[in-house]
C-alpha cells in the first residue's frame, strides 16, 4: 500500500493523553491540511500522521495526537469540517476532560 507519513521525534508510549483517530475525508483539495491545522490549533500535538492511498473518492487518514484536552471534543470539532466524512476515536485513553 502506498502511504505518505510523517512522524515527529516525540516518543509516544501508552499514555492516557495520547489518542488515535481514524478519519475518512473527501479526497479534495485542502482536506488533509484543514484537518491537520485544526488538530494543532485546538491544542493537540501531532505525533504521527499517515495518509493512505485515495480509494473510492475517499482519503483515509490516521492520526496519533497528544493533549490534556478532550479527544471527544476534538472528534466533534473535526466532524463539523465539511470534508470530513467520518471520525473514529480508536484509543481514547482514560483521562478525558469532557
Amino acid at each position: 500500500m502506498n502511504t505518505v507519513s510523517a512522524v515527529s521525534n516525540v516518543t509516544a508510549g501508552p499514555r492516557p493523553d495520547v489518542h488515535h483517530l481514524q478519519l475518512q475525508l473527501r479526497a479534495v483539495e485542502g482536506a488533509v491540511v484543514r484537518v491537520l491545522g485544526l488538530v494543532e490549533r485546538r491544542g493537540f500535538r501531532l505525533l504521527a500522521c499517515e495518509a493512505e492511498e485515495v480509494r473510492d473518492g475517499g482519503q483515509p487518514l490516521s492520526l496519533r495526537v497528544r493533549s490534556e484536552r478532550s479527544p471527544e471534543l476534538l472528534k466533534r470539532q473535526l466532524e463539523r469540517l465539511h470534508d470530513v466524512l467520518q471520525v473514529e476515536l480508536k484509543h481514547p485513553g482514560v483521562r478525558h476532560h469532557a
Binding site: 483539495e29 485542502g30 485544526l38 471527544e72 471534543l73 470539532q77 466532524e79
Partner: protein
Amino acid sequence: MSLLDKREDTSAEPLSGSQLMIEALKRNGVKEIFGYPGGAIMPLYDALVGSGLKHYLTRHEQGASLAADAYGRVTRRAGVCMATSGPGATNLVTGIANAYMDSVPMVAITGQVASSLIGTDAFQEVDIFGITLPVVKHSFVVRDVSEIPEIMDEAFRIAESGRPGPVLVDFPKDVSVAMHSPSPVTRHPSPAPQPVDEAAIAAANELLTKARRPLVIAGGGIAISDAVDAFREFVERTGLPVTATLKSLGSLPTDHERFLGMLGMHGNEAANHAVQNCDLLMVIGGRFDDRVTGKLTHFAPTAQVIHMDIDPAEVSKLRKPDVAIVGDLAPALAKLGPDEPPRASWINQCEAWKKEFAWRYDAPGEGIYAPKLLRDMSRMRDDLVIACDVGQHQMWVAQHCRFNDPLEHLTSGGLGTMGYGLPAAMGAKVAKPEKKVVAVCGDGSFMMNVQELATLNRYGIDVRILLLNNAMLGMVRQWQELFFEGNYSEVDLSDNPDFARVAEAFGIGSKTIDKPGEVGGGLEWLLADDDQGPRLLHVQIDPMENVWPLVPPGQANHKMMGNRS
C-alpha cells in the same frame, strides 16, 4: 430570465466562467455585493456590468467584507464580498474572520492568478485558501469552469445552514474566462431537520422542575437561528429570569421585567450576581466565551447546566453540561419548561439586585456623559439599528441602549474588530433601507475605516454616525490605568484630525458638540427624518472616563470593580 435559463431553454452559446459566477450568485438570491476590483478579478467585474446585481464599491476591501458581514447578520442570508488576488484578498481577511467568530453567513469571492501561475510567486499571488483556513467554515478553489454552479450553490448552502459562517471561493483568472456550456442545475434538497432529542428534553425539564434558583443565559444563537419568538414565548410561559450575552441583547426587550441585563466583564451586576447564585443555568445558543464567564472555574459555581446549541462541538468545550440539547433551538424551546413557575423568593432576589444595580446617570463632571447620551438616543426612536465599533463606546452601547430585537444591535463580539462600525452600518442600511441605522464609533476605531465615508457619499447610503471622541484609545488606556499602574503607552490620540471637517471633505454633513446642553439638539439633528442623507455628530467626551463596572481579567464575575451604579 437569466442567461443560464436562456441557455437551458434554447441551447444558446456557452458562458464564460465569470458569467456562470454571476448566474450562480443570482440563482442564490444575491442582489447586492460589496467589493473592489483589481487585476485577477477583472473578468468577473466585466461580467458584472449589466448583470442586474448592485455592486457597492467600497474604498478598502476590509470595508467590503465587514459590510457583507452586517448584511448577512440582518438578513440571515449570506452577505457577499469580492476582491482581487493578493492584497485585495488579504484585505478581506479581517471581515471573514469577524464573520467566522460571530457565526455570520458570508460568501467571499477572491480573484486568483491564472492556474498556470499558481505556486510561482506571481504578481499579486497569495495563497488565500491557505491563509483563511482557520477562519472559514469552508473554502473552495475553482479549478474547472464546469464546477462553478455546483461550488457556488454549495458555498451558499454551507454558509447559511446549521451554524452559519463564511465560505471563501478562490477564482483563478483562467477559469473566469474559460467557456462552458452548463448543464441544468440540480438543486439538492436541504437535509431534513434533526428531530428534537426527547430524552434530553425530559432530563432538562426534570432539572427545571427541581431547580430553586433557575436562570437563563440568552446567547447569540437565538437570533442566528431565528428563534426570538420561540424564546420569548418560552420566557413568558415559564417566568424564568434572563440575562444575555453581548450578541443576544434584544432577544428579550431591554425593558422586560424578567431581564437582568448583560452578564460578564462589563455586564450589569444584577446579572452577574444572579449567575453566581443560581442553582440551574440554562444556556441557550451561547458558548461560554471568556468575556462572559470570567474565571471559568468560578463561573456559576453552584449551578447545574443545561446547554442548548446547534453545534455539537460547543458542548463541553469549556463547561460540561448536565444536560445537552443539540439541535435547532426553536422546536426544543417549545417543549421545555418546569412544572411550576420559579419560586417567588428567587424572583424577588433577582428584582432586588436589578433595583440595587440599576444604571445611574448622575455622573459628576462638566462634560457630556456618553452613557447618558446613548441611553437618551436609543429612547428617542423604536426603530434604530445600532452598529458599533470596538472599545469603551461598544460596552456603553451594550449597557445603556435599549434593544427590542437582537438584529438592532450589530457588534463585533468574538473578534473585537475596531473599524467594524462604519462599514457594518453601511451593510445594514443597504440590506434594510427602511431602518434608521446609526454607527456608534470611537475615534480610534473610526480612523480605521474612515475611507468608507466616500462610499456613503457616492451611493447616498443614509447612515447616521455618532462619533464619541475622547482623543484616546479609551479601553486600552483604562486597562493601563487599572492594571499597568497608569503607565500609559501609545494611547494618546490628541492629534486626531478635526472630524467634522473630515466628514465635510467627504461630502458628509457634520456637527460638533461638547456640552451637555447641546446633546438634545445634536441627537435630534442626527436622527431627523429628512432627505439630507448621511451625517456625522461629533461628540467630544472626557478622555479619562471609564467603563464600569468591570470584572478584572482572571477574576470571578461577582468580583466587579468600580461600581458607580
